[in-house]
Symmetry: C2
Subunit: 225 residues, 2 copies
């Protein structure tokens, strides 16, 4: 197995992140790369969802993962062990990534071309939502054990996400979790949000999500999104 490469991100000096994110998005589009910004609270299953998606995605496209974390390299290690090109990005204590930090990560992936680059953002439902990373797809995971009140409590995250993945549905019998409540408030935050129910553990629902994402990636990279 390759050794995990750890990239220490530098704090951005750019003042207008929204503008910078737009520039990055256009650069990526021109290069035929779709950037997916994956967000959630801690322990919702970002890494395990990527692992579950891997067989489907790898069959259809070249893709890589940037694992952002305050510290540790456990997630990049996990992805590498699964044979997926990945780097570990360290934010030096910062609670989010902006477009410039994302660009530093993308550069660290090297010269190879990827159809899809996934940024696994810091596990945090507050700050990452405030910074446009330049992503074409903003995907948020909510796991059943976290509870059905998260779209009520973290409005900006649910306004920003255009794909909502409800994970750990194998634990629905164990928790009080009202799907209608989640869907109603999530659609109030973003009427166009696409919602998927999966269990990264059992694999339920994962193929449907993979098919949708692969289609989004193809459409984006064709320039007809």
């Amino acid at each position: 197995m390759d050794t995990v490469r750890i990239i220490e991100l530098k704090e951005s000096i750019l003042e207008d992140n929204d503008q910078d994110a737009q520039v990055l998005r256009e650069e990526l589009k021109k290069g035929g790369t779709c950037l997916l910004n994956l967000m959630s609270g801690p322990g919702s299953g970002k890494t395990s969802t990527l692992l579950a998606l891997a067989p489907y995605l790898s069959a259809q496209m070249r893709w890589a993962v940037m694992e952002a974390d305050i510290d540790s390299d456990v997630d990049a290690k996990t992805m590498l062990q699964a044979g997926i090109p990945s780097v570990q990005l360290h934010t030096g204590g910062m609670c989010h990534l902006d477009a410039d930090m994302t660009r530093q990560g993308i550069r660290s992936l090297g010269e190879a071309h990827y159809d899809l680059i996934v940024l696994e953002n810091i596990g945090n439902l507050v700050c990452p939502a405030e910074f446009d990373t330049g992503a074409a797809i903003n995907m948020t995971i909510l796991s059943v054990p976290e509870g059905d009140d998260k779209p009520v409590k973290y409005p900006l995250m649910y306004e920003q996400c255009d794909v909502l993945v409800i994970n750990k549905i194998d634990t629905l019998p164990v928790f009080d979790f009202d799907r209608d409540r989640v869907e109603t408030v999530a659609r109030m935050r973003n009427p166009d949000v696409r919602i998927f129910y999966i269990s990264a553990k059992t694999g339920e629902g994962v193929e449907e999500l993979a098919v949708y994402l692969a289609d989004r990636v193809r459409t984006w990279n064709k320039g007809s999104n």
Copy 2:
């Protein structure tokens, strides 16, 4: 039931939060009030743990809860319904509370004397750990479904917490969760951390935690902590 009072916190103008937090801690000690800063990621069960502790705490002391959130008033409503004095603090999008914001919350509780005031901080494992709120006790909840790697990934949170509550232990059979891994890394972050295993849902372990907290409160308020 009383109506939920919502306090919109103003951003602090003080530059030295550590100093301000120390001042607040001393003021509270002088007044015989113990402040408990309750932190966790989203959905770990902060509110339900407080509800489970309530019968034990209410029998022994006067206590109140400040529910901090970006938005919504669901948590303060829940506490009021359970007969516990509480206010809802809104941070206006901010991801943490500092000592001055905490002081604004305490003032909003009015003139009544409380032996214990709980600050239920924003659901976030990153930013709240960076700001001393003036609390005498920093308590962090980790729920089993979040996974046993959280002390590895969120080092500062686990350095700051002196009471670690592992919640939702009724779901241990459903998740891969290595207690030894959590305890080892948590004690590496803070060798003096006290660790409790509870299920706020079934009540398991809650009395032991309540006895410990009541003792901490009494000791603090006697001035002999």
